[in-house]
Protein backbone atom coordinates (compact mmCIF):
# COMPACT_ATOMS: atom_id res chain seq x y z
CA UNK A 1 0.00 0.00 0.00
CA UNK A 2 1.48 3.35 -1.01
CA UNK A 3 1.47 6.46 1.14
CA UNK A 4 -1.25 7.91 -1.08
CA UNK A 5 -3.49 4.88 -0.57
CA UNK A 6 -2.82 4.92 3.13
CA UNK A 7 -3.85 8.57 3.23
CA UNK A 8 -7.31 7.60 2.06
CA UNK A 9 -7.67 5.05 4.84
CA UNK A 10 -6.22 7.35 7.49
CA UNK A 11 -8.10 10.11 9.18
CA UNK A 12 -8.34 13.69 8.07
CA UNK A 13 -5.96 15.83 10.08
CA UNK A 14 -8.35 16.85 12.80
CA UNK A 15 -7.86 16.36 16.51
CA UNK A 16 -10.54 14.19 18.09
CA UNK A 17 -11.98 14.26 21.54
CA UNK A 18 -11.84 10.64 22.50
CA UNK A 19 -11.35 8.41 25.51
CA UNK A 20 -9.10 6.04 23.55
CA UNK A 21 -5.89 7.15 25.25
CA UNK A 22 -7.46 6.87 28.71
CA UNK A 23 -8.93 3.46 27.92
CA UNK A 24 -5.55 2.33 26.63
CA UNK A 25 -3.97 3.55 29.86
CA UNK A 26 -6.53 1.67 31.97
CA UNK A 27 -6.00 -1.46 29.89
CA UNK A 28 -2.30 -1.29 30.70
CA UNK A 29 -2.94 -0.78 34.43
CA UNK A 30 -5.64 -3.41 34.82
CA UNK A 31 -4.08 -5.78 32.29
CA UNK A 32 -0.95 -6.16 34.36
CA UNK A 33 -0.81 -9.29 36.46
CA UNK A 34 1.11 -7.47 39.17
CA UNK A 35 -1.70 -4.95 39.62
CA UNK A 36 -4.43 -7.57 39.59
CA UNK A 37 -2.51 -9.51 42.25
CA UNK A 38 -2.31 -6.30 44.28
CA UNK A 39 -6.07 -5.83 44.06
CA UNK A 40 -6.53 -9.45 45.12
CA UNK A 41 -4.47 -8.77 48.24
CA UNK A 42 -6.63 -5.73 48.99
CA UNK A 43 -9.73 -7.91 48.59
CA UNK A 44 -8.30 -10.63 50.80
CA UNK A 45 -8.34 -8.43 53.92
CA UNK A 46 -12.17 -8.20 54.30
CA UNK A 47 -12.44 -11.92 53.51
CA UNK A 48 -9.93 -12.89 56.21
CA UNK A 49 -11.46 -10.41 58.64
CA UNK A 50 -15.02 -11.67 58.14
CA UNK A 51 -14.06 -15.30 58.47
CA UNK A 52 -11.87 -14.66 61.54
CA UNK A 53 -14.65 -12.82 63.37
CA UNK A 54 -17.18 -15.48 62.35
CA UNK A 55 -15.20 -18.43 63.67
CA UNK A 56 -14.20 -16.75 66.93
CA UNK A 57 -16.86 -16.71 69.65
CA UNK A 58 -18.79 -13.46 69.50
CA UNK A 59 -18.67 -10.81 72.22
CA UNK A 60 -15.12 -11.46 73.37
CA UNK A 61 -13.09 -9.10 71.19
CA UNK A 62 -11.83 -5.82 72.56
CA UNK A 63 -10.57 -4.62 69.17
CA UNK A 64 -11.50 -1.40 67.43
CA UNK A 65 -15.12 -0.33 67.41
CA UNK A 66 -15.68 -1.47 63.87
CA UNK A 67 -14.59 -5.03 64.44
CA UNK A 68 -16.78 -5.60 67.51
CA UNK A 69 -19.66 -4.03 65.61
CA UNK A 70 -19.35 -6.60 62.81
CA UNK A 71 -21.27 -9.26 64.74
CA UNK A 72 -24.16 -6.80 64.93
CA UNK A 73 -24.22 -5.85 61.26
CA UNK A 74 -22.25 -7.37 58.35
CA UNK A 75 -21.80 -3.99 56.68
CA UNK A 76 -19.21 -3.17 59.31
CA UNK A 77 -16.86 -5.70 57.66
CA UNK A 78 -16.46 -3.18 54.84
CA UNK A 79 -15.83 -0.26 57.23
CA UNK A 80 -13.41 -2.29 59.33
CA UNK A 81 -11.51 -3.50 56.26
CA UNK A 82 -11.18 0.07 54.98
CA UNK A 83 -9.90 1.16 58.40
CA UNK A 84 -7.36 -1.67 58.45
CA UNK A 85 -6.08 -0.98 54.94
CA UNK A 86 -6.01 2.77 55.40
CA UNK A 87 -2.49 3.11 56.87
CA UNK A 88 -0.57 0.92 54.42
CA UNK A 89 -2.28 -1.36 51.90
CA UNK A 90 -4.43 1.11 50.02
CA UNK A 91 -1.79 3.89 49.97
CA UNK A 92 0.78 1.31 48.86
CA UNK A 93 -1.40 0.25 45.94
CA UNK A 94 -1.87 3.86 44.84
CA UNK A 95 1.86 4.51 45.33
CA UNK A 96 2.74 1.61 43.05
CA UNK A 97 0.44 2.81 40.26
CA UNK A 98 1.32 6.49 40.52
CA UNK A 99 5.04 5.92 40.98
CA UNK A 100 5.03 3.79 37.85
CA UNK A 101 2.93 6.21 35.79
CA UNK A 102 5.61 8.34 34.13
CA UNK A 103 8.80 6.70 35.43
CA UNK A 104 7.64 3.32 34.10
CA UNK A 105 7.23 4.70 30.59
CA UNK A 106 10.57 6.50 30.86
CA UNK A 107 12.18 3.30 32.07
CA UNK A 108 10.85 1.29 29.12
CA UNK A 109 11.66 4.12 26.71
CA UNK A 110 8.02 4.26 25.59
CA UNK A 111 7.78 7.84 26.85
CA UNK A 112 9.87 9.11 23.95
CA UNK A 113 7.61 7.35 21.46
CA UNK A 114 4.49 8.76 23.13
CA UNK A 115 6.01 12.23 22.90
CA UNK A 116 7.05 11.75 19.28
CA UNK A 117 3.47 10.86 18.22
CA UNK A 118 2.94 13.60 19.64
CA UNK A 119 0.71 12.65 22.55
CA UNK A 120 1.45 16.00 24.22
CA UNK A 121 3.17 16.37 27.57
CA UNK A 122 0.24 18.04 29.32
CA UNK A 123 -2.19 15.55 27.81
CA UNK A 124 -0.07 12.63 29.01
CA UNK A 125 -0.19 14.02 32.55
CA UNK A 126 -3.96 14.57 32.39
CA UNK A 127 -4.56 11.01 31.16
CA UNK A 128 -2.06 9.49 33.58
CA UNK A 129 -3.63 11.27 36.52
CA UNK A 130 -7.16 10.39 35.43
CA UNK A 131 -6.08 6.74 35.35
CA UNK A 132 -4.56 7.04 38.85
CA UNK A 133 -7.82 8.53 40.19
CA UNK A 134 -9.84 5.76 38.57
CA UNK A 135 -7.50 3.18 40.06
CA UNK A 136 -7.86 4.76 43.51
CA UNK A 137 -11.65 4.60 43.24
CA UNK A 138 -11.57 1.00 41.98
CA UNK A 139 -9.13 -0.14 44.70
CA UNK A 140 -11.23 1.42 47.47
CA UNK A 141 -14.42 0.06 45.95
CA UNK A 142 -12.96 -3.45 45.75
CA UNK A 143 -12.34 -3.42 49.52
CA UNK A 144 -15.77 -1.95 50.28
CA UNK A 145 -17.63 -4.27 47.93
CA UNK A 146 -15.89 -7.47 49.00
CA UNK A 147 -16.37 -6.40 52.62
CA UNK A 148 -20.08 -5.83 52.05
CA UNK A 149 -20.60 -9.15 50.30
CA UNK A 150 -18.63 -11.11 52.90
CA UNK A 151 -20.28 -9.27 55.81
CA UNK A 152 -23.82 -9.66 54.58
CA UNK A 153 -23.19 -13.31 53.71
CA UNK A 154 -21.71 -14.24 57.09
CA UNK A 155 -23.47 -11.85 59.49
CA UNK A 156 -26.55 -10.62 57.68
CA UNK A 157 -27.84 -7.06 57.34
CA UNK A 158 -30.77 -5.42 59.00
CA UNK A 159 -30.78 -2.36 61.24
CA UNK A 160 -27.41 -0.77 61.76
CA UNK A 161 -26.17 0.93 64.92
CA UNK A 162 -24.14 4.06 64.09
CA UNK A 163 -21.15 5.29 66.09
CA UNK A 164 -23.41 7.92 67.63
CA UNK A 165 -25.64 5.14 68.96
CA UNK A 166 -28.65 5.75 66.75
CA UNK A 167 -30.22 3.03 64.62
CA UNK A 168 -30.53 3.34 60.88
CA UNK A 169 -31.65 1.24 57.93
CA UNK A 170 -29.39 -1.00 55.86
CA UNK A 171 -29.99 1.21 52.80
CA UNK A 172 -28.75 4.23 54.74
CA UNK A 173 -25.75 2.19 55.86
CA UNK A 174 -24.90 1.31 52.26
CA UNK A 175 -25.24 5.00 51.32
CA UNK A 176 -22.82 5.95 54.11
CA UNK A 177 -20.42 3.23 52.92
CA UNK A 178 -20.55 4.68 49.39
CA UNK A 179 -19.74 8.15 50.77
CA UNK A 180 -16.88 6.68 52.82
CA UNK A 181 -15.49 4.93 49.74
CA UNK A 182 -15.57 8.13 47.68
CA UNK A 183 -14.06 10.18 50.52
CA UNK A 184 -11.15 7.77 50.90
CA UNK A 185 -10.71 7.47 47.13
CA UNK A 186 -10.39 11.26 47.00
CA UNK A 187 -7.70 11.09 49.70
CA UNK A 188 -5.78 8.37 47.84
CA UNK A 189 -6.12 10.35 44.61
CA UNK A 190 -4.35 13.25 46.32
CA UNK A 191 -1.58 10.84 47.32
CA UNK A 192 -1.56 9.73 43.68
CA UNK A 193 -0.79 13.30 42.60
CA UNK A 194 2.29 13.22 44.84
CA UNK A 195 3.17 9.94 43.15
CA UNK A 196 2.67 11.43 39.68
CA UNK A 197 5.04 14.27 40.55
CA UNK A 198 7.72 11.98 42.00
CA UNK A 199 7.31 9.79 38.94
CA UNK A 200 8.37 12.67 36.67
CA UNK A 201 11.61 13.06 38.62
CA UNK A 202 13.10 9.66 37.90
CA UNK A 203 13.32 6.83 35.41
CA UNK A 204 13.12 4.19 38.15
CA UNK A 205 9.48 3.23 38.81
CA UNK A 206 10.29 1.17 41.91
CA UNK A 207 12.30 4.04 43.35
CA UNK A 208 9.39 6.40 42.73
CA UNK A 209 6.96 3.99 44.41
CA UNK A 210 9.17 3.65 47.46
CA UNK A 211 9.49 7.43 47.68
CA UNK A 212 5.69 7.85 47.65
CA UNK A 213 5.32 5.25 50.40
CA UNK A 214 7.99 7.06 52.42
CA UNK A 215 6.16 10.36 52.02
CA UNK A 216 2.94 8.68 53.14
CA UNK A 217 4.52 7.05 56.19
CA UNK A 218 6.34 10.26 57.04
CA UNK A 219 3.01 12.11 57.13
CA UNK A 220 1.63 9.48 59.53
CA UNK A 221 4.72 9.82 61.74
CA UNK A 222 4.55 13.62 61.81
CA UNK A 223 0.88 13.37 62.60
CA UNK A 224 1.65 11.23 65.65
CA UNK A 225 4.15 13.72 67.15
CA UNK A 226 1.98 15.89 69.38
CA UNK A 227 4.61 18.64 69.60
CA UNK A 228 4.00 19.24 65.91
CA UNK A 229 0.27 19.76 66.30
CA UNK A 230 0.46 23.09 64.40
CA UNK A 231 1.50 21.05 61.37
CA UNK A 232 -1.15 18.35 61.63
CA UNK A 233 -4.01 20.10 59.79
CA UNK A 234 -1.67 20.55 56.81
CA UNK A 235 -0.89 16.86 56.53
CA UNK A 236 -2.93 14.95 53.98
CA UNK A 237 -3.14 11.83 56.12
CA UNK A 238 -4.37 13.77 59.16
CA UNK A 239 -7.86 13.83 57.67
CA UNK A 240 -8.04 10.24 56.49
CA UNK A 241 -9.57 8.82 59.67
CA UNK A 242 -12.25 11.52 59.55
CA UNK A 243 -14.33 9.09 57.49
CA UNK A 244 -15.70 7.86 60.83
CA UNK A 245 -17.73 11.09 60.91
CA UNK A 246 -19.80 9.68 58.07
CA UNK A 247 -21.09 7.10 60.55
CA UNK A 248 -22.58 9.64 62.94
CA UNK A 249 -26.10 10.92 62.98
CA UNK A 250 -26.28 13.54 61.69
CA UNK A 251 -23.09 13.32 59.60
CA UNK A 252 -20.40 15.60 61.04
CA UNK A 253 -19.25 17.50 57.98
CA UNK A 254 -16.56 19.79 59.34
CA UNK A 255 -13.59 17.41 59.23
CA UNK A 256 -14.85 15.78 56.05
CA UNK A 257 -14.92 19.18 54.37
CA UNK A 258 -11.47 20.10 55.64
CA UNK A 259 -10.23 16.71 54.46
CA UNK A 260 -11.65 17.17 50.99
CA UNK A 261 -10.23 20.69 50.67
CA UNK A 262 -6.82 19.46 51.85
CA UNK A 263 -6.93 16.63 49.32
CA UNK A 264 -7.89 19.05 46.55
CA UNK A 265 -5.01 21.38 47.42
CA UNK A 266 -2.53 18.49 47.49
CA UNK A 267 -3.83 17.12 44.19
CA UNK A 268 -3.72 20.50 42.45
CA UNK A 269 -0.31 21.48 43.79
CA UNK A 270 1.41 18.23 42.94
CA UNK A 271 -0.25 17.87 39.55
CA UNK A 272 1.03 21.34 38.66
CA UNK A 273 4.47 20.44 40.01
CA UNK A 274 4.46 17.33 37.81
CA UNK A 275 3.44 19.47 34.85
CA UNK A 276 6.13 22.08 35.55
CA UNK A 277 8.65 19.27 35.67
CA UNK A 278 7.59 17.27 32.62
CA UNK A 279 6.75 20.22 30.37
CA UNK A 280 10.36 21.34 30.24
CA UNK A 281 12.19 18.09 30.92
CA UNK A 282 14.74 16.74 28.46
CA UNK A 283 13.61 13.23 27.63
CA UNK A 284 16.87 11.36 27.24
CA UNK A 285 15.63 7.93 28.29
Amino acid sequence: MSTAELAVVASRPRARLSTRFLRSELKIIFGRRRNIAGLAVLAAVPVILAIAVRVSSPGQGDGPDFITAIAGNGLFVAFAALALELPLFLPLAVSAISGDSVAGEANLGTLRYLLAIPAGRTRILVIKYAAIVIFAVVATMVVATVGTIMGLALFGGGEMTLLSGTQTSLADGVWRLALTTLYLAAQFSALGAIGLFISTLTEQPIGATIAVVLVNVMMFILNSISQLDWLHPWLLTHWWTAFGDLLRDPIATESIQRGLITALIYAGTFWLAAWARLATKDISS
Binding site: R112, L115, I283
Partner: protein, 315 residues
Protein backbone atom coordinates in the same frame (compact mmCIF):
# COMPACT_ATOMS: atom_id res chain seq x y z
CA UNK B 1 28.22 25.45 4.19
CA UNK B 2 25.29 27.84 4.25
CA UNK B 3 21.87 27.15 5.62
CA UNK B 4 18.87 27.75 3.40
CA UNK B 5 16.12 30.08 4.59
CA UNK B 6 13.71 28.30 6.90
CA UNK B 7 10.75 26.68 5.24
CA UNK B 8 12.32 25.44 2.05
CA UNK B 9 13.65 22.03 3.06
CA UNK B 10 11.87 19.48 5.31
CA UNK B 11 14.60 19.72 7.92
CA UNK B 12 16.62 22.88 8.47
CA UNK B 13 18.58 23.78 11.57
CA UNK B 14 20.71 26.81 12.16
CA UNK B 15 23.36 26.98 14.83
CA UNK B 16 21.74 24.07 16.65
CA UNK B 17 23.60 23.43 19.88
CA UNK B 18 23.09 21.17 22.88
CA UNK B 19 25.20 21.37 25.97
CA UNK B 20 24.90 18.83 28.79
CA UNK B 21 26.50 20.37 31.85
CA UNK B 22 30.04 20.96 30.59
CA UNK B 23 29.99 18.68 27.57
CA UNK B 24 28.89 20.11 24.21
CA UNK B 25 27.11 17.21 22.53
CA UNK B 26 26.00 19.11 19.44
CA UNK B 27 27.97 22.15 18.35
CA UNK B 28 26.33 24.79 16.12
CA UNK B 29 25.18 22.53 13.33
CA UNK B 30 23.38 23.78 10.21
CA UNK B 31 21.55 20.75 8.94
CA UNK B 32 19.67 20.84 5.68
CA UNK B 33 17.74 17.84 4.42
CA UNK B 34 16.27 18.61 0.97
CA UNK B 35 12.79 17.42 0.04
CA UNK B 36 12.64 13.88 -1.31
CA UNK B 37 16.17 13.09 -0.19
CA UNK B 38 17.34 10.01 1.59
CA UNK B 39 19.76 11.77 3.87
CA UNK B 40 22.39 9.67 5.54
CA UNK B 41 23.25 11.14 8.90
CA UNK B 42 26.61 9.65 9.44
CA UNK B 43 29.02 9.55 12.31
CA UNK B 44 30.60 7.30 14.89
CA UNK B 45 28.71 6.46 18.08
CA UNK B 46 28.79 9.42 20.43
CA UNK B 47 29.19 12.01 17.69
CA UNK B 48 25.88 13.73 18.49
CA UNK B 49 23.55 12.13 15.96
CA UNK B 50 20.96 10.89 18.43
CA UNK B 51 21.05 14.12 20.45
CA UNK B 52 20.37 16.02 17.23
CA UNK B 53 17.47 13.70 16.36
CA UNK B 54 16.02 14.10 19.86
CA UNK B 55 16.11 17.87 19.39
CA UNK B 56 14.46 17.60 15.96
CA UNK B 57 11.59 15.66 17.54
CA UNK B 58 11.21 18.01 20.49
CA UNK B 59 12.29 15.42 23.08
CA UNK B 60 15.06 17.64 24.36
CA UNK B 61 15.33 21.38 24.00
CA UNK B 62 18.30 22.97 22.25
CA UNK B 63 20.71 25.10 24.25
CA UNK B 64 20.91 27.43 21.25
CA UNK B 65 19.89 27.57 17.63
CA UNK B 66 16.70 27.05 15.66
CA UNK B 67 14.94 24.10 14.06
CA UNK B 68 12.47 24.09 11.22
CA UNK B 69 10.62 20.86 10.51
CA UNK B 70 8.49 20.66 7.34
CA UNK B 71 8.60 24.44 7.16
CA UNK B 72 7.41 25.10 10.71
CA UNK B 73 9.46 26.02 13.76
CA UNK B 74 10.14 23.35 16.39
CA UNK B 75 9.40 22.73 19.18
CA UNK B 76 6.74 25.49 19.03
CA UNK B 77 4.75 23.68 16.34
CA UNK B 78 5.31 20.16 17.72
CA UNK B 79 1.60 19.46 17.98
CA UNK B 80 0.82 20.13 14.34
CA UNK B 81 4.00 18.98 12.67
CA UNK B 82 5.08 15.84 14.50
CA UNK B 83 2.11 13.83 13.31
CA UNK B 84 3.54 14.19 9.79
CA UNK B 85 6.85 12.81 11.02
CA UNK B 86 7.45 9.12 11.59
CA UNK B 87 10.32 8.36 13.88
CA UNK B 88 12.52 5.69 15.34
CA UNK B 89 14.67 7.04 18.15
CA UNK B 90 17.53 5.17 19.74
CA UNK B 91 16.18 1.71 19.27
CA UNK B 92 12.76 0.16 19.85
CA UNK B 93 10.89 0.61 23.14
CA UNK B 94 7.57 -1.07 23.86
CA UNK B 95 5.57 -2.60 26.69
CA UNK B 96 7.06 -6.07 27.11
CA UNK B 97 3.90 -7.87 28.19
CA UNK B 98 1.75 -6.53 25.37
CA UNK B 99 1.71 -8.09 21.91
CA UNK B 100 3.20 -6.28 18.93
CA UNK B 101 -0.26 -5.40 17.70
CA UNK B 102 -1.43 -4.22 21.15
CA UNK B 103 1.65 -2.03 21.42
CA UNK B 104 0.89 -0.34 18.13
CA UNK B 105 -2.76 0.02 19.15
CA UNK B 106 -1.59 1.72 22.33
CA UNK B 107 0.50 4.24 20.39
CA UNK B 108 -2.29 4.78 17.88
CA UNK B 109 -4.73 5.42 20.73
CA UNK B 110 -2.43 8.11 22.09
CA UNK B 111 -2.57 9.93 18.74
CA UNK B 112 -5.17 12.69 18.77
CA UNK B 113 -5.38 12.64 15.00
CA UNK B 114 -5.77 8.96 14.33
CA UNK B 115 -9.13 7.53 13.34
CA UNK B 116 -10.17 4.61 15.58
CA UNK B 117 -12.23 3.11 12.75
CA UNK B 118 -9.16 2.63 10.56
CA UNK B 119 -6.85 1.73 13.43
CA UNK B 120 -6.94 -2.00 12.85
CA UNK B 121 -6.33 -1.70 9.09
CA UNK B 122 -3.49 0.76 9.51
CA UNK B 123 -1.81 -1.34 12.20
CA UNK B 124 -2.01 -4.52 10.15
CA UNK B 125 -0.80 -2.72 7.02
CA UNK B 126 2.20 -1.38 8.92
CA UNK B 127 2.92 -4.79 10.46
CA UNK B 128 2.65 -6.41 7.04
CA UNK B 129 5.04 -3.90 5.54
CA UNK B 130 7.79 -4.88 7.95
CA UNK B 131 6.96 -8.59 7.78
CA UNK B 132 5.60 -8.91 11.32
CA UNK B 133 1.97 -9.74 10.62
CA UNK B 134 2.48 -13.41 11.47
CA UNK B 135 3.98 -12.50 14.86
CA UNK B 136 1.44 -9.74 15.61
CA UNK B 137 -0.12 -11.56 18.56
CA UNK B 138 3.16 -12.55 20.17
CA UNK B 139 4.20 -10.69 23.27
CA UNK B 140 6.87 -8.07 22.65
CA UNK B 141 9.17 -9.69 25.20
CA UNK B 142 9.29 -12.81 23.03
CA UNK B 143 10.42 -10.81 19.98
CA UNK B 144 14.00 -11.07 18.74
CA UNK B 145 16.05 -7.88 18.46
CA UNK B 146 15.35 -7.77 14.74
CA UNK B 147 11.60 -8.14 15.28
CA UNK B 148 11.65 -5.37 17.86
CA UNK B 149 13.44 -3.12 15.41
CA UNK B 150 10.81 -3.92 12.75
CA UNK B 151 8.00 -3.15 15.18
CA UNK B 152 9.55 0.25 15.83
CA UNK B 153 9.68 0.87 12.08
CA UNK B 154 6.05 -0.27 11.78
CA UNK B 155 5.15 2.33 14.41
CA UNK B 156 6.62 5.06 12.23
CA UNK B 157 4.39 3.89 9.37
CA UNK B 158 1.06 3.96 11.23
CA UNK B 159 0.11 7.24 9.58
CA UNK B 160 1.06 8.67 6.20
CA UNK B 161 4.25 10.65 6.76
CA UNK B 162 6.02 13.41 4.90
CA UNK B 163 9.22 12.91 6.82
CA UNK B 164 10.76 9.87 8.43
CA UNK B 165 13.49 10.19 11.01
CA UNK B 166 15.07 6.80 11.51
CA UNK B 167 17.85 6.44 14.05
CA UNK B 168 19.95 3.38 13.28
CA UNK B 169 17.07 1.45 11.67
CA UNK B 170 19.13 -1.62 10.81
CA UNK B 171 20.65 -2.09 14.26
CA UNK B 172 20.36 -5.70 15.30
CA UNK B 173 19.02 -6.90 11.98
CA UNK B 174 20.54 -9.82 10.10
CA UNK B 175 21.72 -9.25 6.49
CA UNK B 176 18.33 -10.28 5.12
CA UNK B 177 16.51 -7.92 7.50
CA UNK B 178 18.95 -5.13 6.63
CA UNK B 179 18.19 -5.59 2.93
CA UNK B 180 14.46 -5.47 3.63
CA UNK B 181 14.75 -2.25 5.60
CA UNK B 182 16.84 -0.74 2.81
CA UNK B 183 14.15 -1.63 0.28
CA UNK B 184 11.50 -0.21 2.58
CA UNK B 185 13.37 3.10 2.85
CA UNK B 186 13.76 3.25 -0.93
CA UNK B 187 10.07 2.53 -1.31
CA UNK B 188 9.11 5.27 1.15
CA UNK B 189 11.34 7.74 -0.66
CA UNK B 190 9.75 6.75 -3.99
CA UNK B 191 6.34 7.47 -2.50
CA UNK B 192 7.52 11.01 -1.87
CA UNK B 193 8.64 10.95 1.77
CA UNK B 194 11.87 12.57 2.84
CA UNK B 195 13.98 10.23 4.94
CA UNK B 196 16.63 11.17 7.47
CA UNK B 197 18.44 8.01 8.43
CA UNK B 198 21.21 8.04 10.98
CA UNK B 199 23.75 5.31 10.94
CA UNK B 200 27.29 4.45 11.80
CA UNK B 201 27.47 1.96 8.93
CA UNK B 202 29.14 3.49 5.88
CA UNK B 203 28.05 0.73 3.53
CA UNK B 204 24.44 1.49 4.34
CA UNK B 205 24.85 5.14 3.35
CA UNK B 206 26.59 4.29 0.09
CA UNK B 207 23.74 2.00 -0.89
CA UNK B 208 20.64 4.00 -0.12
CA UNK B 209 21.42 7.65 0.44
CA UNK B 210 21.25 10.54 -1.99
CA UNK B 211 22.63 13.02 0.53
CA UNK B 212 25.03 12.77 3.41
CA UNK B 213 25.78 14.76 6.53
CA UNK B 214 28.84 13.76 8.48
CA UNK B 215 28.91 14.32 12.23
CA UNK B 216 32.12 14.22 14.15
CA UNK B 217 32.57 15.17 17.79
CA UNK B 218 29.34 17.17 17.82
CA UNK B 219 30.08 19.09 14.63
CA UNK B 220 28.61 18.67 11.17
CA UNK B 221 31.89 18.45 9.27
CA UNK B 222 30.38 17.98 5.81
CA UNK B 223 27.01 17.88 4.13
CA UNK B 224 25.71 17.59 0.60
CA UNK B 225 24.76 15.23 -2.18
CA UNK B 226 26.75 12.02 -1.91
CA UNK B 227 28.30 12.48 -5.36
CA UNK B 228 29.49 16.00 -4.54
CA UNK B 229 30.98 14.92 -1.29
CA UNK B 230 32.89 12.21 -3.05
CA UNK B 231 34.08 14.56 -5.80
CA UNK B 232 35.24 17.09 -3.25
CA UNK B 233 37.58 14.57 -1.77
CA UNK B 234 40.97 13.70 -3.22
CA UNK B 235 40.93 11.31 -6.14
CA UNK B 236 43.72 8.78 -6.46
CA UNK B 237 45.40 7.59 -9.65
CA UNK B 238 46.95 4.20 -10.03
CA UNK B 239 49.55 3.34 -12.65
CA UNK B 240 50.38 -0.32 -13.26
CA UNK B 241 53.91 -0.63 -14.54
CA UNK B 242 57.07 -2.72 -14.15
CA UNK B 243 59.21 0.44 -13.83
CA UNK B 244 57.67 1.85 -10.71
CA UNK B 245 60.58 4.16 -9.77
CA UNK B 246 60.51 5.93 -13.14
CA UNK B 247 56.74 6.23 -13.00
CA UNK B 248 56.96 7.76 -9.53
CA UNK B 249 59.51 10.30 -10.76
CA UNK B 250 57.29 11.34 -13.68
CA UNK B 251 54.23 11.69 -11.42
CA UNK B 252 56.25 13.79 -9.01
CA UNK B 253 57.40 16.08 -11.84
CA UNK B 254 53.77 16.49 -12.90
CA UNK B 255 52.88 17.69 -9.42
CA UNK B 256 51.05 14.69 -7.93
CA UNK B 257 51.37 14.18 -4.19
CA UNK B 258 51.39 11.32 -1.72
CA UNK B 259 53.13 9.03 -4.18
CA UNK B 260 53.31 5.44 -2.96
CA UNK B 261 55.30 2.74 -4.70
CA UNK B 262 54.10 -0.84 -4.46
CA UNK B 263 55.07 -4.03 -6.27
CA UNK B 264 53.83 -3.55 -9.84
CA UNK B 265 52.01 -0.26 -9.38
CA UNK B 266 52.24 3.31 -8.14
CA UNK B 267 49.46 5.33 -6.56
CA UNK B 268 49.30 9.09 -6.08
CA UNK B 269 46.83 11.80 -5.08
CA UNK B 270 45.62 13.58 -8.20
CA UNK B 271 45.28 17.02 -6.68
CA UNK B 272 44.84 19.76 -9.30
CA UNK B 273 46.66 17.90 -12.06
CA UNK B 274 44.71 17.24 -15.29
CA UNK B 275 44.14 13.51 -15.62
CA UNK B 276 44.63 13.41 -19.41
CA UNK B 277 48.22 14.68 -19.13
CA UNK B 278 49.44 11.77 -17.06
CA UNK B 279 49.57 8.86 -19.51
CA UNK B 280 51.21 10.83 -22.42
CA UNK B 281 53.89 12.06 -20.04
CA UNK B 282 54.57 8.55 -18.80
CA UNK B 283 54.79 7.25 -22.37
CA UNK B 284 57.12 10.12 -23.38
CA UNK B 285 59.39 9.13 -20.49
CA UNK B 286 59.41 5.55 -21.86
CA UNK B 287 57.54 4.16 -18.84
CA UNK B 288 55.45 1.18 -19.98
CA UNK B 289 51.87 1.80 -18.85
CA UNK B 290 50.25 -1.60 -18.28
CA UNK B 291 47.18 -0.14 -16.63
CA UNK B 292 45.82 3.22 -15.53
CA UNK B 293 42.90 4.05 -13.28
CA UNK B 294 41.39 7.01 -11.44
CA UNK B 295 40.03 5.63 -8.19
CA UNK B 296 36.83 7.09 -6.70
CA UNK B 297 37.38 7.63 -3.02
CA UNK B 298 35.34 5.33 -0.82
CA UNK B 299 33.11 6.97 1.73
CA UNK B 300 35.57 5.82 4.32
CA UNK B 301 38.35 7.76 2.54
CA UNK B 302 36.07 10.79 2.48
CA UNK B 303 35.44 10.40 6.16
CA UNK B 304 39.11 10.05 6.98
CA UNK B 305 39.94 13.09 4.90
CA UNK B 306 37.26 15.11 6.71
CA UNK B 307 38.14 14.13 10.24
CA UNK B 308 41.74 13.02 9.99
CA UNK B 309 40.78 9.87 11.81
CA UNK B 310 39.55 6.40 11.06
CA UNK B 311 35.85 5.84 11.20
CA UNK B 312 35.33 3.54 14.15
CA UNK B 313 36.94 5.89 16.61
CA UNK B 314 34.54 5.24 19.43
CA UNK B 315 33.62 1.70 18.51
Amino acid sequence: MTSAPAGTAPVVTSGLTKQFRRQIAVDRIDLEVPGGAVYGFLGPNGSGKTTTIRMLLGLISPTAGAISLLGTPMPAAARSVLRRVGSLVEGPAFHPYLSGRANLARLDAADRFSDPRTSRVRIDTALDRVGLLAAAEKRYRAYSLGMRQRLAIANSLLMPRDLLVLDEPTNGLDPQGTREVRHLIEELARDGATVLVSTHLLAEVEQICSHVGVMYEGKLVAQGPLSELRAGSAQTVRVDTDRTDDAARVLNELGLRDIAISAGYVTAALGEVAVEKIVPNLVNACVPVLGFAVLQPSLEDVFVSLTGEGFDVNG
